[in-house]
């Protein structure tokens, strides 16, 4: 069994346990069953923040060491982070429609900063796809990956810094505003999403390695093949 399969199997078990905790948590007195979306919305955004932090780490390390492995780590983490941000935005909109009465507020700093972060990291993926030279691609995306991470604390603290429809943090230094069952469901799902993130990261890095090996092989084959010279062609 390969490393990817082991991690994917572990992730499937962890997600199954997380789902059980999320869907059996008692409904909130005001939000009803919609509070069960807490099992997916906050964990997906936390994992996205971690993913973009890993991208920044990989980007800085590439700028220092200039080795492929750091570029692979940074780019893989962006892709996985974008998937989790998309899930965070989607589940937040469903919850917003049910509880706030609107899925989106264009004036809301938390919602808008998250959307901007999502599109900046989509731009990172587009930038990588637009450049053929691997060194230029790695350098430019490392610079973007290093700068773009400033959005993460901005998104996280936007609920404290600005007036926003989104509630402030439920877990604070002086305690939690949530009942224990909901808190437990959220943390179990956070753990499950971390395992899922690790599995997807390893799978994405394996793809990058495999594609790089295939590209180097095809270059060698291409160099070995050359058109025949006139002197080598026999008259028939």
């Amino acid at each position: 069994m390969t490393r990817v399969r082991v991690l994917m199997s572990l992730a499937a078990v962890a997600v199954g346990i997380g789902l059980w905790f999320a869907l059996t948590a008692p409904p909130d007195a005001l939000q009803g069953g919609y509070s069960r979306l807490l099992g997916i919305h906050p964990p997906s955004m936390w994992v996205a923040f971690i993913a973009f932090g890993v991208t920044a780490l990989g980007s800085v390390m590439w700028l220092v060491k200039k080795t492929d492995r750091w570029d692979r780590l940074a780019s893989a983490s962006v892709e996985v982070g974008v998937i989790f941000t998309a899930i965070g935005l989607f589940t937040g909109m469903v919850w917003g429609q049910a509880v706030w009465g609107t899925p989106w507020d264009w004036q809301d700093p938390r919602l808008m900063s998250t959307a901007v972060m999502f599109f900046v990291y989509l731009g990172y993926i587009a930038l990588r796809n637009a450049i053929d030279d691997p060194v230029v691609r790695a350098r430019r995306s490392a610079i973007l990956g290093t700068i773009a991470v400033v959005q993460v604390p901005l998104v996280y603290f936007s609920v404290n810094l600005f007036r926003t429809l989104h509630q402030t943090q439920s877990i604070r230094p002086d305690g939690s505003t949530m009942p224990d069952e909901m808190l437990l469901a959220m943390f179990v799902n956070m753990g499950a999403f971390m395992v899922l993130y690790a599995a997807l990261m390893v799978a994405r890095i394996e793809v990058a390695k495999s594609e790089a090996a295939a590209a180097s092989e095809s270059t060698l084959a291409g160099e070995a093949v050359r058109p025949p010279r006139l002197s080598e062609v026999e008259d028939v």
Partner: protein
């Protein structure tokens, strides 16, 4: 629409996206190995 259907559908779509991405990675890796 009942809240159970909305919550279940939201989970289904979200996990569907993750499973879809995992399948895409698997196919992409297999194609690069051919």
């Amino acid at each position: 629409m009942s809240e159970t259907v909305v919550v279940a559908g939201t989970y289904l779509i979200s996990y569907g996206l993750i499973v879809g991405y995992a399948v895409y990675l698997h196919l992409r890796r297999r194609r690069s190995q051919d």
